[in-house]
Symmetry: C2
Subunit: 219 residues, 2 copies
């Protein structure tokens, strides 16, 4: 699908994760997953309320009403995308923290995981951040709770590092917001056809974050 790079304005053709309109040689279709995938790209490029069921169906070679044999509602698609994104982010963050190390290493790890996800899954991340207010209750409140939990880890580690005199920064709060937001921004401009891989970018950003906090690499 054609997507525009935020900074260059260039349009890039990005293949879908699943074969589109390939009714043959695909075995038993996971229609539900295909629908989610098509909806994801449309939500990311033209927004949730800007996307019609007919457009989603068109991606799979069917009419809008036919989608309802596989899904319950348009809202369900958004809920699955956003909860899937937050669950995966939290899962990766917990795994990173479980590896231990000193506070610089742990902070570096959760920054890297944060950035890597936002590059690898830029559509999920973009939609997950942008369309939260399109979620109906109680889903919206649930996601906001999960996000607060996710974001608090950054601030906690900055505070911990400052308590140990390993970081020198004027404010735990603003610097943790800055680190979070620069990672979120990646989902708006990352180009998978470009020369940098998600894990290279993750390493670069982890270094930028540590330097911003006034720490050198923790190893």
């Amino acid at each position: 699908m054609a997507v525009r790079n935020r900074l260059t304005g260039e349009r890039t053709h990005v293949p879908s994760a699943v074969g589109r309109r390939s009714r043959v040689a695909s075995g038993p279709h996971d229609r539900h997953h295909e629908i989610i995938d098509a909806a994801l790209e449309l939500f990311a490029t033209i927004g949730y309320s800007g996307t019609t069921m007919a457009q989603i169906g068109d991606r799979l070679g069917m009419r809008g009403p036919s989608l309802y044999k596989h899904i319950a509602s348009k809202q369900e698609l958004l809920v699955e995308i956003v909860t899937g994104m937050m669950d995966e982010l939290l899962r990766r963050q917990r795994a990173a923290l479980a590896e231990g190390g000193d506070v610089r290493q742990r902070l570096s790890s959760i920054v890297a995981v944060h950035v890597q996800y936002h590059a690898e899954h830029r559509y999920e991340a973009f939609v997950g951040h942008r369309e939260i207010d399109s979620l109906e209750e109680p889903h919206r409140s649930h996601i906001l709770d999960l996000r607060r939990e996710y974001e608090s880890r950054f601030r906690e580690l900055v505070q911990e590092g400052r308590g140990l005199d390993l970081f020198r920064t004027s404010s735990d709060r603003w610097s943790s917001y800055a680190i979070l937001d620069m990672g979120i921004g990646v989902s708006a401009w990352y180009n998978p056809s470009g020369s940098v891989t998600p894990d290279e970018l993750a390493a670069t950003y982890a270094e930028l974050a540590l330097r911003m906090l006034g720490a050198e690499r923790g190893d």
Copy 2:
């Protein structure tokens, strides 16, 4: 109007820039400006396509169709908001660069101006970044051109500083994107009722940016 802080989930009451529904003691209304102001808050909180003309009218105590005595279309409202935002950002950036100084001072200045605007005018900034794809041509292309110009200044200064060995960073590109995005993020969480002023936050972020680039304060 009730707005939600991205990180805390708290709702804050924010007075509009112009007196709402105050038909008396307001002198000759600038209806056009009042409509823009009401539309801005609605676009920021529920999105451009999620906002109806009836809702905008309701903010001013009138019906949707009555708005068309003062404006041409809903699209016109968005165009004015977004072009006004980009023009002001570029104006402030040029003024900052015109003050001169070494590359550290100039970079610090454009970061401060960037962050200050995104805190002071968080709604304009938020809408300006989020709703670009809601703009019809040729407005969208025009805004993208202006944004490219605005963003290129950051990268140019990072390159210049690195050429002079004043900055040490692995990539001009990623670090300038990081600086830009952490400033843009401010518009999503800044709370004018909070304890930090836009210019304090601007100074803090300028320091974070310089430290991220491996430079100490340039003065």
